[in-house]
């Protein structure tokens, strides 16, 4: 995949995530896609990740993936972005996140996600302190 194709795939992925289009995400994940997270340190399958999304989406009124800075390398991309969330209470929060995505044949084969879980409570509006 060339630079443009990888960038397009990356933005397609985040647009679909943002718009809650799980069918589109299923198209983007390779059948053997793995999702790993620095908070838990364990791998889950793309299928399990998608299965958890409907419940996850219920937790916020809106989530947007903004300020996307994308760099591509041979075999994938790194994206640095701000996840903005609007809770059902109206509380707004933001998290800074980085994802390294590996890609092949137009699909994502692996996602490694890095974030700071200490900010989750503030992001959700249930803790003290700054939201970002």
């Amino acid at each position: 995949m060339n630079d443009s194709e990888i960038r397009e795939l990356c933005n397609r992925f985040f647009d679909a995530y943002q718009d809650r289009r799980i069918d589109e995400l299923a198209e983007i994940y390779a059948p053997d896609c793995i999702v790993w997270h620095n908070v838990f340190g364990r791998e889950t399958s793309g299928r399990d990740n998608l299965a958890a999304l409907p419940e996850s989406y219920k937790q916020q009124r809106r989530r947007t993936y903004d300020d996307r800075t994308i760099d591509t390398f041979a075999g994938g991309f790194v994206i640095q972005y701000t996840l903005h969330g609007v809770q059902h209470s109206g509380h707004r929060g933001a998290l800074w996140i980085c994802i390294v995505g590996l890609c092949k044949d137009g699909k994502i084969t692996r996602i490694d996600e890095y974030m700071d879980s200490s900010k989750f409570a503030a992001w959700a509006g249930v803790g003290r302190g700054r939201t970002r």
């Binding site: 760099d71 075999g75 800074w96 890095y114 700071d116 200490s118």
Partner: protein, 129 residues
């Protein structure tokens, strides 16, 4: 910079931090170097970051940057790695982190670091090795 040069720069950086060679780290930073971390969301300057490094070494007996997976792009590198520390009390702990570095003319001009600060908490008794 070529892929090989970027990879070498990345390893030189982590190796220097690991062996507490702040003078070498300073050589690898461009004069306009900026450091950003997702814990605070604020930028710090080259001198501020070098000072933080010097001060940070007192916190642990040893710190190593392991399991480095490096990818390079046109203007920099991404490193995914484990930071493993041994405290003065002998406890071991590790966390997973990722840096995105911008580079130019053999030096690093910017680092964005992403990690999980909840992993800084002292390990539980059961995790002692």
């Amino acid at each position: 910079m070529r892929d090989t040069e970027l990879r070498q720069l990345c390893h030189s950086y982590f190796d220097a931090i690991e062996r507490r060679d702040v003078d070498r780290v300073a050589e690898l930073y461009a004069p306009e170097f900026t450091f950003w971390v997702n814990l605070t969301g604020t930028e710090s300057s080259r001198e501020q970051n070098l000072e933080t490094l010097r001060g940070g070494y007192a916190l642990h007996r040893r710190r190593t940057y392991d399991d480095r997976r490096i990818d390079t792009f046109e203007t920099g590198f991404i490193a995914r790695y484990s930071v493993s520390v041994v405290t003065h009390g002998g406890r071991r702990a590790s966390l997973w982190a990722c840096v995105v570095a911008q580079c130019k003319d053999g030096r690093i001009t910017r680092i964005d670091e992403y990690l999980d600060s909840s992993k800084f908490r002292p390990p539980q008794e059961t995790s002692r090795e």
